[in-house]
């Protein structure tokens, strides 16, 4: 039997339906375009890294081809694709840009971080100076707005903080116990976050703090294997679900806000994504590893 109250609820639901639909649209990144080739139509092979900057440049670590590719994305047009192939790099996996346009590249084979100048010429491998203990084995690294370098040293289970010249500033030990920590992120205010991939957890250490504490509980029900992490200027944490083919956004409090994108092969889908980069203008670059491409998305405003 339809009562007056039921009718009211039904009408309200019908009125709200378009709002709900548009909210769903707002949370989904919109594909701009997949980038498949270099400037000579050579195909990318298993690209694992991508870095971007506010000038519109983006650099791809074309891991399977053992090279970097330099592009620009300005006024809705992707240009470039010129190859950077220093002899010292054989398997680039992660790439970051500092404020001067210098490239820092983690090489999967030598397990070293290479420093390249903005032209793409090899400068040196990063040799941290004055660090306590043994030389680091970097699994990942990040660069903050002041060009300080943060290395995820899995051999000594710590985050090493270096100044732009590679001089040791301080370190923070991984929490105990922990699973396999695969990435870190640094905010503008200097807070450091870790992602524990096997436990699907995010840990945080505020700028002044000495230790990492869990920001989230285990999120195994919501993701398979978070392998990369970045944080935007609003504090939203983006986790790349490598094995699940998606991106999960968490609020600054660690609560899950949404899951974006889906596993697949067609344009707009992801298949074992690696590094992502979120530009200040709201473009999301995804190294879509097993689809042999990088994809550009417009993030919801």
């Amino acid at each position: 039997m339809i009562t007056r109250a039921n009718t009211g609820i039904l009408v309200l639901a019908l009125l709200l339906m378009p709002l709900v639909a548009s909210a769903a649209e707002l949370t989904a990144p919109k594909l701009i375009q997949p980038v498949l080739t270099d400037d000579k139509e050579g195909m990318m092979k298993s690209p694992q890294g991508v870095a971007c900057n506010k000038e519109g440049a983006f650099i791809v670590a074309d891991s399977g081809n053992g090279r970097l590719l330099r592009y620009s994305y300005k006024e809705d047009v992707v240009k470039g694709g010129g190859e950077i192939r220093p002899a010292q790099l054989s398997y680039p996996q992660r790439v970051q840009l500092n404020s001067k346009g210098d490239m820092y590249v983690l090489d999967g084979k030598s397990h070293k971080i290479a420093h390249l100048n903005p032209q793409g010429n090899f400068v040196a491998f990063l040799e941290p100076q004055g660090i306590p203990g043994v030389a680091p084995v970097p699994k990942s690294f990040k660069i903050d707005p002041e060009d300080n370098i943060y290395i995820l040293d899995i051999f000594s289970e710590r985050v090493l903080m270096l100044d732009p010249d590679g001089k040791y500033l301080k370190s923070k030990a991984f929490p105990s116990p922990h699973g396999f920590i695969t990435d870190l992120a640094v905010t503008w205010s200097g807070d450091i976050y870790l992602v524990d991939s096997t436990n699907c957890m995010v840990l945080k250490s505020a700028k002044g703090a000495d230790a990492f504490t869990p920001l989230t509980k285990s999120m195994k029900a919501d993701m398979d294997f978070p392998g990369y992490m970045t944080i935007d200027s609003k504090g939203t944490i983006y986790l790349v679900d490598q094995d699940g083919g998606g991106i999960i956004a968490l609020g600054p409090d660690g609560n899950i806000r949404t899951r974006m994108l889906t596993m697949g092969v067609k344009p707009g889908y992801l298949f074992y994504p690696g590094q992502i980069c979120l530009s200040e203008s709201g473009t999301l670059f995804v190294a879509d590893r097993d689809n042999n491409r990088v994809q550009l998305f417009e993030m919801p405003k």
Binding site: P34, L36, T37, M43, M44, S46, S63, G64, S90, Y91, G108, K109, H111, V134, V137, K139, I154, F155, S156, E157, G179, F180, T182, S197, T198, K220, D224, F225, D243, G244, M263, V265, K266, P267, Y272, R289, D290, N291, N292, R293
Partner: protein, 426 residues
């Protein structure tokens, strides 16, 4: 307490217990308004087979006292066998506290309330109403253990005496695996470290704080000293100092080097080979290094792997193992825990640490039919969905399975095929 005091205590206890049982019988008679003296006799007038049960050595106390209504309702019940409560709860109405509040491990039948897996609720030939006496009862479920113990050359003496020497059959507040105490405290109860033989066997290293079960199989093995069957060569030859600092140093258990660097001392060819590859399995590079997957002393598994590969690999790759468990079609190598059929656990130049560069060649090592498959595959056949991919086995299948049949990522075959053959989409 001297002997006369003990006797007094026994007499008092008997009096208290007798009074309790007498008052309980009285309560029963009152509850069901039984004729005086009917309790303990009335049920047996019909259930005469119980005379046989009452002849068995171990009889459940309520039955012995004729208190059938301790467990059964004589008139009607919502539960089978006219039980006064659910089968999984009824024992706990009297036998409270079988599971400690902070239990570290609970025997599955106890947790599930299926006490009758071990106990007969009426009577049994063995003590405590157990269906069988000694280890035979345990081996009813723990068959593998029973079979192993008949084969092993060296048995741990307490095992032959009885599983309950070390295990609590219900729950343990102190340890996993229902152990009565945590290791090494449990072991040190019998094995005194101050004995010369103990020190000699352990090369003078202070192992009393170590986990004994890291090297020794607590049930038995074919190795002297009940070491696990696969022993690391330096342990076999008692050359602990090859990896550890000297036994008289300040930190004798500390290893001479950390991570993979320690293992490289002997396994240099293997480790140098790994570092020549593009992709090294990341755990090798962390603090634990090789010990992320291997036990440095002794294990049950070949290659000193810590456990079977499903367990060892699944420690980190839980999502992959879960996917296989959910899969409607099982991939044989994964089902059998042979992860290394396809993956190199140390290093590879290929994604997913595949053994071979070509997925088609890799799958072809088992699936030779793919060579004459009718669907075109190979580097010259581009994937219509993404021209940067060529068609290969993983274009349509997920090797670890999906929630659908045949490892395909769509509910039906037509859903899969129309991904590319869009003209046939309905």
């Amino acid at each position: 307490m001297n002997f006369s005091h003990a006797r007094i205590a026994v007499v008092v206890a008997n009096l208290v217990l007798g009074t309790c049982l007498f008052s309980h019988a009285q309560d029963t008679e009152l509850k069901y308004k039984l004729k005086p003296g009917a309790a303990g006799k009335l049920c047996l007038q019909c259930h005469d087979t119980f005379k046989d049960k009452l002849a068995k050595p171990s009889i459940h106390t309520p039955l012995k006292k004729g208190e059938c209504i301790g467990c059964h309702n004589p008139h009607a019940s919502d539960h089978g066998k006219l039980l006064a409560a659910d089968m999984t709860n009824i024992c706990a109405t009297c036998h409270k506290g079988m599971i400690p509040a902070d239990a570290k491990s609970v025997h599955k039948p106890v947790g599930e309330g299926t006490c009758t897996k071990c106990h007969d609720p009426h009577s049994a030939p063995a003590k405590f109403n157990l269906l069988k006496g000694g280890n035979d009862l345990c081996f009813e479920c723990h068959k593998g253990m029973g079979e192993t113990l008949t084969k092993v050359k060296f048995k741990h003496f307490p095992v032959t005496k009885g599983c309950l020497t070390c295990h609590d059959p219900h729950a343990s507040a102190k340890s996993a695996s229902l152990l009565k105490d945590a290791v090494p405290a449990l072991c040190l109860g019998c094995h005194k470290p101050d004995k010369p033989n103990f020190a000699k066997a352990h090369m003078g290293y202070p192992v009393t704080g170590a986990r004994c079960t890291g090297c020794h199989d607590p049930h038995g093995s074919d190795r002297n000293g009940i070491l696990y069957n696969n022993v690391h060569k330096p342990v076999m030859s008692k050359m602990c100092a090859q990896c550890h600092e000297a036994n008289n140093s300040a930190t004798p258990l500390k290893t001479k080097k950390g991570g993979y660097e320690l293992c490289r001392g002997c396994h240099s060819t293997l480790i140098n080979g790994m570092f020549a590859k593009n992709r090294v399995h990341w755990p090798i590079l962390d603090k634990q290094g090789c010990l992320s997957c291997h036990n440095p002393h002794a294990t049950k598994q070949k290659g000193l792997i810590k456990a079977d590969l499903i367990t060892t690999c699944g420690k980190c790759h839980q999502d992959t193992i879960r996917r296989q468990e959910k899969s409607l079609t099982k991939h044989e190598p994964i089902k059998d825990g042979k992860c290394i059929s396809c993956h190199d656990p140390h290093a590879s130049d290929n994604l997913f640490l595949f053994n071979q560069a070509s997925v088609i060649d890799l799958c072809g090592t088992c699936h030779d039919w793919q060579k004459h498959s009718t669907h075109p595959i190979g580097e010259k056949k581009r994937d219509p969905r993404n021209k940067n991919l060529y068609l290969q086995c993983l274009s349509c299948h997920r090797a670890h399975g999906t929630e659908y049949k045949h490892f395909i990522p769509f509910p039906t075959t037509s859903d899969l095929c129309t991904q590319c053959h869009e003209q046939f989409k309905r």
